[in-house]
């Protein structure tokens, strides 16, 4: 199970520009169990967004947003609510946020930080989509994770090895930052690439040994044994 925690509400509201209309999407999979998805997330996020002056065009809980193939079909059924929104706030792990970003031509913002993939993982090649950095940056990178698409995990654009949109590591591999650039260009948000991002706290996720992550399994197994 994936473990995530809700971002501070101010941070989530801060992604949005004044008066933007929002579609709220929450995952009914692992995130629901963590309290970062499901109805619980909608109950927490809706008032915060509305207080900040953002009208909700709709809110929806879908099971397992990481199943990218199904997300597109499910969202199509709520066509008008989704189309009417300027942006989508997604309460799920980083995999779910990225799968929604791939099916919609809209800015997609994360409501949670992903801490660990735990044992059972999200459906869409999860390990390769979300690095569990614990400080989700997808709001600034067009819903494409710089830690997993760039071998160097750079946070401020491509390195000098990027050429014709390809990575220096292997021919044919797309440069992750070219993808992020193209996505932000298509969303009209290249301004996000002019901002400085301080180094991340690696103790939130990236470099924390698995044994020290906030995985609840040892506790679950302990409880099971206790009977």
């Amino acid at each position: 199970m994936l473990v995530s925690e809700l971002k501070p509400l101010d941070e989530i509201v801060g992604y949005l520009r004044e008066g933007e209309k929002v579609f709220l999407l929450a995952c009914g999979g692992c995130a629901e169990v963590c309290g970062t998805g499901g109805e619980e997330a909608i109950l927490k996020l809706r008032p915060a967004l509305e207080r900040a002056g953002h009208r909700l065009t709709g809110a929806l809980v879908l099971p397992f947003l990481c199943n990218k193939a199904l997300v597109g079909f499910r969202l199509a059924r709520r066509g008008e609510e989704v189309e009417g929104a300027d942006a989508v706030v997604v309460a799920s792990c980083g995999v779910g946020v990225q799968s929604v970003a791939q099916v919609l031509d809209k800015p997609v913002y994360p409501a949670a930080n992903t801490i660990t993939m735990g044992g059972l993982q999200g459906v869409w090649p999860s390990e390769e989509r979300c690095a569990r950095c614990g400080d989700c940056l997808l709001a600034y990178t067009g819903g494409i994770c710089p830690h997993t698409v760039c071998p160097k995990g750079l946070l401020h654009g491509p390195c000098g090895g990027s050429q014709r949109g390809e990575c220096e590591l292997e021919p044919g591999r797309p440069c992750g930052w070219q993808r992020i650039y193209d996505r932000l260009a298509s969303l009209g948000r290249l301004d996000l690439l002019e901002r400085y991002r301080p180094p991340q706290d690696s103790q939130k996720g990236l470099d924390v040994p698995l044994s020290r992550r906030k995985a609840p399994f040892w506790a679950l197994e302990y409880l099971e044994e206790e009977g």
């Binding site: 160097k152 750079l154 401020h156 654009g157 000098g160």
Partner: protein, 291 residues
């Protein structure tokens, strides 16, 4: 006159790469520096270039400084986390090193220790911010330092890369965070370089055009295929092909370098030479270029 003053006064600046030894014998590197000192204002000491193990950059920088020449410390994010980067910077300043060139670094698999763990704890923009922080008397975590640094910070950019736009945005961010000069990847096509200079002009920061002497037509074709952002025009390659002996190739290569330098001279504030083992030919290039 120091590099900082030359750049500030708008003078034409010449920098040249110096490569630390693969081992402990520093004499050959220092002798090469001494022979070129007449033509060069500052020496960039590479930091495990192409991820190939060599002596540390700061050590050769300190030795170059001791001999009375001015070094530029090249520093990559590949091998050190934010603690080690800052520690090396404090040490470098104490050793009298005043200039730093902040780079991302090549991926370890490109070098001779392909199994090495890549670090990239900071990226090049964050490294520039870290140096600025040390310059202001605080570390990256905001703690006060007993003695600040006063580094001149440089950065790199690849003028021939396609598409250029994402790289220009990053360059802009590097300037915003404190980069005071730029050294570029090798230039062979002044037209491409001019296009870049026009785009970057607004940033108002000195640019030093990269110069790598071609050793053969094969090297040119290799670079076109494998080195990001390097474009050697076909007519330059055939010029090299027409040279049949080693002597002729050297002569042709020197002519090509001098011609590129003359072409880029009105467009930028200096050149950065990367001789790649051809240090002995640098004097001829400089004389033919009129520098």
């Amino acid at each position: 006159m120091r590099l900082r003053e030359r750049l500030e006064r708008g003078e034409f600046v010449i920098t040249c790469e110096a490569t630390p030894p693969k081992g402990t014998h520093v004499r050959p590197a220092l002798e090469a520096v001494a022979r070129l000192a007449r033509y060069v204002h500052a020496f960039n000491v590479t930091d495990l270039q192409s991820s190939v193990l060599r002596m540390s950059s700061w050590a050769l920088c300190a030795l170059i400084k001791e001999e009375g020449y001015e070094p530029v410390l090249q520093l990559t994010c590949r091998d050190r986390n934010r603690l080690a980067l800052q520690a090396d910077l404090l040490g470098a300043w104490a050793l009298g090193i005043e200039n730093v060139l902040a780079l991302t670094g090549d991926y370890p698999t490109l070098g001779d220790h392909p199994g090495a763990r890549p670090v990239f704890d900071l990226d090049s923009v964050q490294l520039i911010a870290a140096i600025q922080s040390l310059n202001s008397g605080r570390d990256l975590a905001g703690n006060e330092l007993a003695g600040a640094t006063g580094f001149l910070v440089g950065a790199v950019v690849n003028p021939g890369v396609e598409p250029l736009e994402p790289h220009l945005l990053k360059m802009k961010l590097k300037v915003k965070m404190g980069a005071k000069f730029f050294q570029t990847q090798a230039v062979y096509d002044p037209k491409t370089f001019l296009r870049f200079v026009r785009e970057a002009e607004g940033l108002g920061v000195p640019i030093l055009a990269g110069i790598i002497p071609l050793k053969s037509a094969r090297m040119a074709r290799f670079m076109n295929e494998h080195i990001a952002g390097v474009f050697v025009p076909e007519e330059v390659i055939s010029e090299m092909e027409r040279a049949k002996t080693r002597e002729e190739r050297v002569k042709r290569s020197i002519e090509i370098c001098a011609r590129i330098i003359r072409a880029v001279r009105p467009l930028c504030q200096g050149v950065h030479l990367m001789p790649m083992g051809w240090e002995e030919h640098v004097p001829a290039i400089m004389e033919l270029a009129g520098l």
